[in-house]
């Protein structure tokens, strides 16, 4: 047993522990507690800036999308419409389109035709209500167009920040990448709360009201296909697409992950994805693989098809192909 001058619990202080509390100690303690409390309040002061209704009891108690009754979902969607109207100045029509029977979507992109114009990336923004700082800000677009060096399919020497006068450049070719809606999707496997899953038609969706924002899915994705709302989305009223869907293009809250859903608000209603419709070269082919007569089936069966990162074993529903 060493004796040391700076012992902080001496026998004398221990003695006090056994004694009843004195008035003096009590007052001292209360004064200390007040100072501590004041410090705590000061530290938490930034919370005053929280918007009204940003965290409500309803939100905290809301169940997972797949546990909601149709009535509950309807009520929540109405609330979301009100909220969007109040915060962004546009009242959307919010729907919840279900997967169609006998449909499994697949997407193919013709690398011979793509000219790298990025119209698809912009159309994606216009359709899906992603946050953007300005007109040219396409960082939240679900499509990243890679400018590739001819002679190889090497991602490492590619760039997304190309900015020449005209495209395509002679020594380059272009490869747009978006969510591959993988059949063996690593993102849904790793989500700790099942906030993201694969629907019957093959589309991987996110329940934005259930996602906890851990971003494990982003770490798992081999295609850099997921975006995170690092802040509350900024959108001008004129930039908002009011035709919205619960599991796809509704305006996301801050702190959740979002991704390409093959525009399910359109494709489940029989339309093409926005990126396909806008493509000036017809490089994009979309359809139902379960339909033997579909164009997508023809491509997959007859063209030289390339699967990006096939070695990772994710079995994408997104394919690249080349014209002969």
């Amino acid at each position: 047993m060493t004796e040391h001058s700076s012992n902080n619990v001496s026998p004398k202080t221990i003695e006090q522990v056994y004694q009843p509390m004195t008035r003096r100690t009590f007052l001292k303690g209360s004064a200390g507690a007040m100072v501590g409390l004041a410090g705590l309040v000061a530290a938490l002061k930034p919370l005053l800036a929280l918007e009204k209704g940003e965290i409500s009891l309803d939100d905290l108690l809301q169940r997972h999308y797949r546990q909601l009754s149709p009535a509950d979902l309807q009520r929540i969607m109405t609330q979301l419409e009100d909220k969007c109207a109040a915060e962004y100045g546009v009242r959307p029509t919010l729907q919840d389109l279900k997967p169609l029977e006998g449909v499994q979507f697949a997407y193919a992109l013709n690398l011979t035709r793509c000219i790298g114009c990025r119209k698809c990336a912009h159309a994606c923004l216009a359709e899906n209500n992603q946050s953007r700082a300005g007109e040219d800000d396409i960082s939240m677009s679900y499509i990243r167009v890679l400018e590739m060096q001819k002679g190889a399919i090497n991602l490492e020497t590619s760039t997304v920040y190309y900015d020449p006068e005209t495209v395509p450049q002679k020594d380059k070719y272009y490869m747009p990448v978006q969510c591959h809606q993988c059949q063996e999707s690593p993102c849904t496997k790793v989500c700790p709360v099942q906030a993201t899953w694969q629907e019957k038609d093959g589309v991987v969706v996110v329940d934005y009201n259930w996602c906890i924002g851990c971003r494990y899915c982003m770490a798992a994705c081999p295609y850099d296909a997921r975006r995170f709302n690092y802040q509350k989305p900024t959108l001008k009223p004129e930039a908002i697409n009011p035709n919205q869907n619960y599991l796809s293009n509704r305006i996301r809250p801050k702190g959740v992950v979002e991704k390409c859903t093959f525009c399910l608000q359109r494709t489940r209603a029989g339309k093409y994805p926005a990126c396909l419709e806008v493509c000036p070269t017809g490089a994009r082919v979309f359809g139902n693989v379960l339909d033997p007569d579909s164009e997508i089936n023809y491509i997959l069966n007859h063209k030289r098809v390339y699967i990006l990162k096939e070695e990772v074993g994710t079995l994408p529903r997104f394919y690249y192909f080349f014209d002969a």
């Binding site: 012992n7 619990v9 202080t13 971003r215 081999p222």
Partner: protein, 410 residues
């Protein structure tokens, strides 16, 4: 029951008793905690845009510190094994402190995960029955289980031993021995599962590597004991508890072996990455030498390697037989491994991105303050636990103050 309440009341009273140095230290840490809390409140309002993270580098300092601290928590097992399996008497004097350190480390881990969430208000989604567990698919769900389980195990073991000591009774073996042995396996599991978080991601070549869990454990069994050696010296200097040199030098031996294994595994990794460089070695190239003009991590990793090597040189030579030399080794190893597991392991997993983009990462001030705050919470907890545990351990706080004090250790 009333006995137990009296015990809690006395612990509470004792928590507030101490000399001025104790008060200065605790107030200093509390201020840091409040600064961190303030930074977190700002992050909560504005979102994770207050951090340096991006879509490309979607995990940063929080997850890096989390990973490192899981290792520190797991290292308690390096006291438990010599004490309970090899029955080294001198380790029994300190084994409790390892468990207390593990508790503080796990609490820090849980806090680091919480501050990393975009929606901390939905934390309960991870906890059934309020939430949905993606089990056994998600390794993060496994991590929630093993980390909380390890926390409970250590709380039980440490709490039970202290309460027995307080009452002057010998602990009943069946109430703690099974848990002690369970905690040994459990400690290994927490760091293994945490490694699997990364190893399981086939899309990230830098992490998808079977050596990672082994290296995690090896480096944890350096960093954890390093922190213990330093803490034990603080305890024997400023508190009324004698800790001899023997446990410290047992830990030195453990550190030395673990560091040798860690460096061997590092060498194997470097050989694999650089002898026949594949595209999968891009992250390692970026980390060690910079790639395509991006070299943000180069100074970090070489600092870490230099610290590791200095630490190892001290450990394997007689230099560390002297306590000053040993302390230098502890500090260099601790910091070296902290960098290695953070800037050296988490960040390069994201650079280059899966599509080949180079987006570099540096934590922001706000993010750093939050990290500092979480570390302060851990230091505050450990200080408080030691402050109340040591009077119980040395017999000055006991159920019946009039009974003769139990024999002190030594």
């Amino acid at each position: 029951m009333t006995d137990y309440l009296t015990f809690l009341w006395r612990v509470w009273r004792l928590s507030w008793q101490g000399g001025w140095k104790f008060y200065v230290w605790m107030i200093f840490l509390s201020v840091l905690v409040l600064v961190g809390l303030n930074a977190w409140a700002r992050q909560f309002v504005e979102g994770l845009a207050t951090t340096g993270m991006t879509d490309q580098v979607s995990w940063g300092a929080y997850i890096a510190n989390f990973t490192f601290l899981v290792g520190v928590a797991a290292a308690a097992v390096m006291l438990v094994i010599p004490a309970y399996i090899y029955k080294k008497e001198h380790m029994h004097e300190v084994v409790l402190f390892g468990e207390l350190m593990a508790i503080a480390a796990i609490v820090m881990c849980l806090l680091f995960v919480t501050v990393d969430l975009g929606h901390p208000d939905r934390f309960h989604h991870m906890i059934p029955p309020f939430g949905i567990f993606n089990f056994p698919g998600s390794i993060l769900s496994w991590d929630v289980i093993v980390l909380n389980g390890y926390l409970l195990l250590n709380l039980h073991i440490a709490g039970y031993m202290l309460y027995c000591r307080y009452r002057g009774k010998a602990p009943t073996r069946k109430f703690y021995i099974p848990f002690v042995f369970l905690s040994i396996a459990w400690a290994v599991s927490i760091h293994t599962v945490t490694a699997f978080l990364y190893v399981g991601l086939a899309g990230r070549a830098y992490w998808h590597h079977p050596l990672v869990p082994a290296r995690f454990l090896a480096s944890a069994f350096v960093a954890g004991p390093a922190l213990m050696i330093l803490t034990f010296q603080v305890i024997r200097r400023v508190m009324r508890y004698y800790i001899g040199d023997k446990p410290i030098f047992t830990l030195r031996m453990i550190m030395t072996v673990a560091m040798l294994i860690n460096m061997f595994l590092l060498g194997s990794e470097l050989f694999t990455e650089f002898y026949s460089p594949t595209q999968h070695a891009a992250a390692a190239h970026y980390l060690y030498f910079g790639l395509h003009g991006h070299d943000g991590l180069v100074p970090w990793i070489w600092t870490a390697i230099a610290l590791d090597v200095i630490g190892l040189l001290f450990l394997v030579t007689p230099l560390s037989r002297h306590i000053v030399g040993l302390n230098i080794a502890c500090v260099t190893c601790f910091v070296g491994i902290w960098i290695e597991k953070g800037m050296g392991l988490i960040i390069p997993g994201f650079v280059p991105s899966p599509l080949g983009q180079f987006v570099e990462y540096l934590p922001t001030l706000n993010e750093t303050l939050i990290c500092l705050g979480v570390w302060a919470v851990g230091a505050l907890m450990l200080s408080w636990m030691l402050h109340v545990a040591i009077p119980i351990m040395n017999g000055s706080l006991r159920a019946d103050p009039h009974a003769p004090a139990p024999a002190l250790n030594h």
